[in-house]
Amino acid sequence: MSTIQPPDRLKPAAKTEGTQQAAAPTSLYADRQKVYPKAVKGPVRRAKWAVLILCLALYYLVPWLRWDRGPGAPDQAVLVDIGNGRLFFFFVEIWPQEVYFLTGLLVLGAIGLFVATSLFGRVWCGFTCPQTVWTDLFMWVERVIQGDRNERMRLDKQPWTLEKLRKKGLTHAAWLLIAAATGGAWIMYFNDAPTVTVDLLTGGASLDVYFYFGLFTTTTYVLAGWAREQVCTYMCPWPRFQAAMLDENSLVVTYRDWRGEPRGKAKADGIGDCVDCQACVNVCPTGIDIRDGQQLECIGCGLCIDACDDIMKRLDRPTGLIAFETLSNLAASTAATKALPPSRARCATGMEVRRVPRFIRPRTLLYAGMLGAVMAVMLGAWLLRQTVTLSVLRDRAPLFVTLSDGGIRNAYTLKIANKDRDIASYALVLDSRTALQMQVQEAPTTAPGDRPMVTTRPDGITQWRVLLTQPPGTPTRTSIPVTFRLVDGRGRTVVSESSIFLGPESR
């Protein structure tokens, strides 16, 4: 592996001799140097545009998808209904206590990220990360209004004129507009999209909605407009530990130094393929030089590949001086070409010794296995998910009641959660080794077999208070296990829950 070196702009400024006997003060703080990425064309850039359009389209349009769930239920396909404690995702509807499905999705996302990173390097960072997508969009806006790299640098240097004011103002206005649309789309995931859009525009939305709208508008504007690569370099934890997922067989954006070095003018003799044109540096959205080797700031977007290939084609040299390449191939090529002088032959030799990247290796198998296991667990959990759940809360004060005839009575509160949108009725059945009489308060109807009938309201929790009585004369035990079961019309046990029946300690 190449050593990771800080780019020049992060190295402390060289010490200069002071006027006094000691060295002049050195600041450990380096100002940010603004990055002016140049426009670039090529296959990687096209892929990046496609991913950007897809991601943004999903983000902005998904809240508007409708999904009919019947009367009384929201008809938004994807909705986090915080007020009513429901999460809707097309045919899926989960309750707050099932938030582990969401957790499972996040775990899946994390492991999926591990898999992708171990195979293809930082593709998440370079292509799909929201920070990358919105920064890319903001840069496009900037380029359309202010022009490409050189024009933007000139504009920033020149004194304030009406023209500069117009261009800068227009850019920021456009950014704010996009940011507002982004903040607006965010709250649509938590509110009915058409309603909240009208409310937002007419001033009728709640303070919460305006707060989150403002929060996400501001963060989008600041992070994509101003902070940009600083988010990746200083704020984001992912670059810090992604090195643990990468190895010498991962495809990463790599400069083939064995072919490019020594760099120099195109017409000079004894010089590698790199003509030191700075095209790769100029297009880099994080402002680094990929020729310095693997480095923390590289988000793996591959735009330098497009830039370099373009130059190579113009010089009629083989493309791929910068490419998605594994570090093991890089080492193999370096070893094979060590003795060769810069030439077409050296290039060909170096390329020949390359092997197809080992996509199947213990690391990727482990990550894929974890991914499969979590998927299987989640699928299992989903298939076994119950739409009717029963919880039994035993009265603790009093633990038991002695009746006038010497019988013992325990009271329970049964909570039946019905996650379906239909009313449901069940016979309540008690299983216990000792004969106990069951009485359900306020349950006038009985199911077949003289069992008490409990009904549950649709999409909600219904409470029933149940009294169990042990007739007098039964030998008392301190604790008797009991099980409540809900039995449907076909005699099938839908759900059961255990509890205990307590009595006085036998003397």
């Binding site: 003060p25 009093p398 009641v401 002695t402 006038s404 009271a411 308060q441």
Partner: protein, 290 residues
């Protein structure tokens, strides 16, 4: 040890002039933004002291006149006015009717639970389980003054022997030994007979002697077979529930010196709607009668 202020060669910052064992302290003041935030908080505090109560004196309310207590009172009042439509219906109704209406019943049980915890749980226990020594369990099926909705409501509203209501529940058990009606052996015999009513007597001879004494002195209120009489608040003596203990010593003590529990008349303390809700809640604890 103070030394002269000098410029630090490495950072270019002045020292404070303090030195300990060769270590010099650099004079690096707080960041400006930090300092200004602190000044801003001081300015904020100055404004706050003028606007809001800040001194522990009566009447030091600040120019806005805002008082935390009044804010709470206002909130409570607002909550009450939100509940008022339901409370009005409950006030105008009676516990039995309330219990038959699912909507009112749910409201009354929930409100009754809170009111019970605030007013009743101190003696009767958090779940109405009662306590030894005269605080009856409200969750069992034994009632001194009756367990129907109306009887429970009447007891709650008027109290027991508190002298607070003309319609209070009252009765007086004589103090048979203290007032010289029975002798100590006679008290013992009567207690033995009372035990026999719940088939727990261990001394048949004493119980036999007590039978006549019971018939003469106790049966008028407690019934021939100890079945009790709710009209006069005479507890059943033939069951397994004993308010003051069911062992012989406790029963003998009850006969000798009598017992007389007291409960305040809550009708004078609580909104009639609350009393109705309490009656519905207590009835639903498990022992309610129809």
């Amino acid at each position: 040890m103070p030394t002269k202020i000098e410029k630090d060669s490495l950072t270019g910052t002045d020292t404070t002039g303090h030195e300990w064992d060769g270590l010099k302290e650099l004079n690096t003041p707080l960041p400006k933004w930090w300092l200004y935030v602190m000044y801003a908080t001081i300015a904020f505090a100055a404004v706050w002291v003028v606007l809001y109560p800040a001194f522990p004196f009566q009447g030091a309310t600040g120019v806005t006149g805002w008082i935390a207590r009044e804010a709470v009172v206002g909130d409570v009042r607002a909550a009450q006015s939100r509940m008022e439509p339901m409370l009005a219906r409950i006030r105008a109704s009676d516990p039995k009717t309330i219990a038959a209406d699912p909507e009112l019943r749910a409201f009354a049980v929930a409100g009754g639970r809170t009111a019970f915890a605030n007013n009743c749980a101190g003696c009767h226990g958090a779940g109405g389980q009662g306590a030894q020594g005269g605080f009856p369990s409200l969750a069992d099926d034994d009632w001194i003054w009756g367990g129907t909705h109306d009887a429970i409501r009447h007891t709650i509203a008027n109290g027991v022997r508190a002298g607070e209501s003309d319609e209070e529940r009252t009765s007086q058990m004589p103090r048979f030994l203290a007032d010289g009606v029975l002798t100590l052996p006679q008290v013992n015999d009567t207690a033995e007979y009372v035990l026999s009513l719940s088939r727990r007597s261990t001394d048949a001879a004493a119980a036999g002697r007590g039978e006549a004494l019971y018939a003469e002195n106790c049966a008028a209120c407690h019934g021939e077979r100890g079945e009790g009489n709710r009209d006069v608040g005479a507890p059943r003596l033939s069951d397994q529930i004993w308010l003051y203990g069911g062992d012989k010593a406790s029963i003998a003590r009850s006969i000798a010196y009598a017992r007389a529990g007291v409960m305040p008349a809550w009708g004078q303390r609580l909104d009639p709607a609350i009393v109705n809700m309490l009656a519905v809640y207590v009835h639903a604890l498990g022992g309610g009668e129809n």
